[in-house]
Symmetry: C2
Subunit: 116 residues, 2 copies
DNA sequence: CCATTACTTCGACGACAGTCGTAGTATAGA
DNA sequence: TCTATACTACGACTGTCGTCGAAGTAATGG
């Protein structure tokens, strides 16, 4: 019989018009979340939740993905049992011009050069 | 006789090279501190601590100025009994290109339009 | 139907940031 | 020398955020 006795898993995303600067700043102030954004930007393609490098547990990482998604920074969707992540770069650019690129560039500059 | 039995009040500022993104993000994530930065950018000239509008007490405001200064966002200097504040915009631009302007623009966009 | 994989939810805990009022300090002026 | 002004330093309090592990849920494959 039909297997899907529940609807396919969906994810809610805010319209960027209803996201304010405070929310985005709070999302981007956490170093782990910036690592996520940075890796996403660096890779240039969608990544599943399990493929990120971060010095925290899986459940904590889930929390960080939620914060980023609710701030409109990333978009998430399921592919089978895995959850994919994408930067909402274009939309963010329209809403907060220059902000995300500046942060990403700063991340890259810090992790790229041998600062430590 | 010579009155200055103490050296004139001075203020310490970090070299921007030794300020990291985390510190700047933490400085800019607080809405009161963004108000300070925003007013400084809007005014376009140095402002004394007492001339800022913020919904907090004076002592709290002092704390916010300290955070901004230690993050390299503002420069402070005494003029008699008042303390002046100025944005380190050019230096910040060199250290974290685009970051401060993006935040300032976002602040202006939010406070400018009748969002609430 | 069952096991596995991949992620989520929950509750608890610890740390720390923002806030205040009070008391203190440096400068200017009388 | 004394007072007023403008800001600072300190200690206390509070709320919130990041963190974890354990238990839960949904899809996939056998």
């Amino acid at each position: 019989m039909a297997r899907p006795r529940t609807a396919p898993r969906t994810v809610d995303h805010p319209d960027l018009a209803q996201v304010d600067l405070q929310q985005v700043m709070e999302a981007l102030v956490d170093p782990v979340r910036r690592m996520v954004v940075s890796q996403l930007a660096r890779k240039g393609e969608d990544m599943s939740c399990g493929t990120f490098e971060a010095p925290v547990s899986i459940s904590t990482l889930t929390h960080h993905f939620n914060v980023l998604r609710e701030a409109g920074v990333i978009r998430q969707y399921y592919v089978g049992v895995t959850k994919m992540n994408t930067l909402r770069a274009d939309e963010m650019e329209e809403r907060f011009p220059g902000l995300l690129p500046a942060v990403i560039a700063a991340c890259a500059a810090e992790t790229g050069s041998g600062v430590d």
